[in-house]
C-alpha cells in the first residue's frame, strides 16, 4: 500500500535521468550528479551499471532514450485521499487552497477519526480572518525573498509594541497548536507568536540588518535512570525529538544526555519532574538546584 516501488527514490532519480536524456544532456557526469542529488549515497553502484549494461531498458548505454515525454506520474489514489483529508483540516484556510479535488475522492481520514488527546486547548484561532490575513502576509513575505515586515503585537504584559523584522520561517508546535514567526533584524526578540499579532504589513523603511540573528543558546542535561517499569522506553520516547545520547552504565542503569534550547528550560524542568523518581538529573548543577528548590517547597506542603 505505502511501501511500493512507485514511490522509490530510484524511480524518481531515473525519471530525472530520462528527462536529461530527452534533452540530449545525459552523460556520465550528469548521470552521477542526478544520482547524488536525488538518491542515496551508494546508489551510483547500482544505477550506473544498470543503465550502462542496459538492464533497465529505458536509457541506452550511450545516454539516449526511446522515451518521448518527460516522465510524470499522476497522483495515486492514496496521495489524492491524503490531500483530501488535508483539505478538511481547519489549518488549510491559512493557505487558501483546497487542492481542486473532486467529490469522488474519499478522504483517507476525517478530522473526527483522529484525536490529539493531550494537545493544549488555547491554540491559535485558525478560523479568525485577521489571523489568516497575518499568516498569509507572513508566508508571502518569506516567499518574497524574506521581505521585511512591520508587526504590531501585544507583548506578554499586554502592551502594544511595534517591530520591524525580517521573517525567516514559521515554527509550528503540535503540543501548543500554535505558530511562531522566527525572525531576524529586530532588537526586541527573534520569535513572535502569531496569536499575539495585531497587524502585519510589508515594511519599506530603512534597511534591516539580516545578520543580526539572536543566537539560540544550546544547553544539555544528563540524567540517570534504572530501567524498571519500562522507564527507559518512556524517557527515550518522551525526549525523542531532541538530540540525545544514551549510555548503558550497568545491568539496567543508563545515562541519557539531552541537548535543548535554553529558552525551553522551564518546560524541560516540568517534563523531567513528570517522571518522578524514575530519573535523576545529575548535570548541570543549576538545573539540579532548581529541581531541589521545587522539591523542598513541595515537602513543606506534604
Amino acid at each position: 500500500m505505502l511501501f511500493n516501488e512507485i514511490y522509490s527514490l530510484y524511480y524518481k532519480t531515473v525519471a530525472k535521468a530520462i528527462d536529461s536524456a530527452i534533452k540530449g544532456q545525459l552523460n556520465d557526469k550528469t548521470l552521477r550528479q542526478i544520482i547524488r542529488e536525488n538518491a542515496f549515497c551508494e546508489s551510483e553502484l547500482t544505477i550506473v551499471p544498470a543503465i550502462k549494461e542496459e538492464k533497465w531498458q529505458i536509457i541506452t548505454a550511450d545516454g539516449t532514450t526511446p522515451i518521448k515525454n518527460t516522465p510524470s506520474v499522476p497522483l495515486t489514489n492514496l496521495e489524492k485521499s491524503w490531500l483530501k483529508a488535508i483539505s478538511l483540516d481547519k489549518r488549510i484556510a491559512l493557505f487558501g487552497t483546497d487542492f481542486g479535488l473532486g467529490d469522488d475522492v474519499q478522504p483517507l481520514f476525517n478530522q473526527e477519526d483522529i484525536k490529539y488527546f493531550d494537545q493544549y486547548t488555547d491554540g491559535d484561532e485558525y478560523d479568525n480572518p485577521e489571523y489568516q490575513h497575518h499568516f498569509k502576509t507572513i508566508l508571502k513575505a518569506i516567499n518574497d525573498n524574506h521581505h521585511p515586515l512591520q508587526i504590531y503585537m501585544c507583548n506578554p504584559k499586554g502592551c502594544t509594541v511595534r517591530m520591524n523584522v525580517i521573517p525567516k520561517h514559521l515554527e509550528y508546535s503540535h503540543k501548543d497548536d500554535k505558530f511562531r514567526l522566527i525572525t531576524s533584524g529586530c532588537a526586541y526578540g527573534a520569535v513572535i507568536n502569531l496569536g499575539r499579532i495585531q497587524s502585519c504589513e510589508y515594511y519599506y523603511g530603512r534597511q534591516l540588518n539580516r545578520m543580526s540573528d539572536l543566537e539560540t543558546e544550546n544547553k544539555c542535561f544528563c540524567m540517570e535512570l534504572v530501567d524498571k517499569r519500562n522507564a527507559l522506553e518512556r524517557v527515550m520516547m518522551h525526549f525523542a525529538h531532541f538530540e540525545k545520547r544514551a549510555e548503558k552504565l550497568g545491568e539496567d542503569r543508563y545515562r541519557i544526555t539531552v541537548w535543548y534550547d535554553n529558552e525551553d528550560e522551564g518546560e524541560i524542568i516540568i517534563r523531567i519532574l513528570s517522571f518522578g523518581p524514575m530519573v535523576k538529573v545529575t548535570e548541570p548543577a543549576d538545573l539540579v538546584e532548581r529541581i531541589k528548590q521545587r522539591l523542598k517547597k513541595q515537602m513543606r506542603y506534604l
Binding site: Y7, Q57, P71, T121, M237, L302
Partner: protein, 416 residues
Amino acid sequence: MAYTELIKNFERVREYMRQFYLYGFKSREEYSVKSARSYDDDRRRIETWLGEYMGFKSGANGKNVFISIDSRTVKSNPLFKAWKTCSFTDKDITLHFILLDILKNHPCGITTRDICDVMESDYLRCFEAPLSFDESTIRKKLKEHENLGIAAGRKDGKTVVYTLCNDDTNVDADALAFFSESAPCGVIGSFIADKKPANNDNFAFKHHYITQTMDSEILVRLLCAIREKRNIIFTNHSLRTENTVSIKSVPLKIFISTQNGRQYVMVYHYDFGRIMSYRLDYITDVELLEECEDFDRYRNMLCRMEKHMWGVNATRHEEQLYHVEFTVSFAENESFIYKRLLREKRCGNVELLGKGLCRFSADVYNEQELVPWIRTFMGRIVKISFTDKGLEESFKEDIRKMHEMYCEEGGDDNAV
C-alpha cells in the same frame, strides 16, 4: 544474495530504525537478529539512507549505532527516506516508464495488444539485447497501475482500453511542506513533494516526533478500516513482554500524543467485550475483514467515554469513575499557572478559589494516567486527593523519594 540498498520488506528495518533512533546504545550482539550478516546489511542500508544523522560510538559492549536528530532543526523528516527504498526488478522499472510514455502518447486509450507491439517496435528495439514482455505481464502491470490510480481501463467492445489518469490537482507548495510534517501519514505528502515542489524551508517544527512515520503503513490500514467501518485482525507484538498475539476487533479512532509521540488505535475488542487501546509501534500487521454493522454504536460508546478519559484508558464499566482533585498555589505574578491549568485540563475542571489558589478536579476511569501531569506542578501542590488512597500514598511516597534522591546525602542510589 548480494547486498543492495533497496529492500523488499519494511518490517525488519522499521524495528532497527526505531531502536537506533530511540535507544542507540545496543551493540550488534544485543539485537535479536537472524544473522550478523543481516544486521550488518540493514545497518549499512540505514547508514546510506540517513548518512549525516547516523552516529557510532565504541562502548564496553562493542560498537553502538545511533540516529540522533534534533527534529526542530530539520525542515523535512529524514526518516521518510526509508519509505522510498522498495526494491523492484529490471522488468518492473522498464515496464513502468515505457507504459507511462505509451499511455501519454495515446490520450484516447490503447489496448494491451497494441501496447505490446509499440513496446517492441518503438522502445525495446533500441537496446542490444531487448527484454521480452508477454501480453499477460503487461496486463498485470496495467492492473497494478489501475489499482494505484495512475491508469484507468475501460471496456471497448470485447477489449479493454487503457488511459493515463488525469492529474489536475493544484498542490500548494507551502501547504504541502507544512502538512507533510504535521499531518498523520505525512510521508504521503513527501511522496507528492517528489513530484511537485514543496517549500520545506518555510517551516520548522517544535515538539516534533518524527519517529511516528515508521508506523505509517499500519496507520494507513487502520484509517482505511475506520473509513470503511470494517473489522480487522491485527498482530500485536509487545517489545516489553515479547508476546505476539492476533486480535480481532473493530478500530474506532486514532489517539495521538503530542507530548510523547505515541500513537494508539482505540478498538472494540470482541473477546474482552470492551474498548481498548493499542500502540501502533507494537502492531506489525493489520488485515481488513468484513464490514462491522455495530461500528456506529461502538464509536458512540467511545465518544461517551472520552468525557472521562484522561489518556487512552477506557474501562469495562462506564459507571465506575475515580475522583482526582488537587489544589495549587501561585504568587500574584504567577497567573500563568492558572492559565496552564486551564489549557492543560482536558476532561477536568479548574476553579479559582481565591487569591493565588486554584483547584483542578476530574472524574476519570484511570487515575494513574494523571500522575505524571500532576507531578509537573511539583512545589505548588498544597492539597491532593485520589479515590484510590493507595495511589494517593504512592504519589506522596514518590515525592519523598525524590526529595531523598536530590536533597539528602547518599541519595544517588535511590533512583528507581
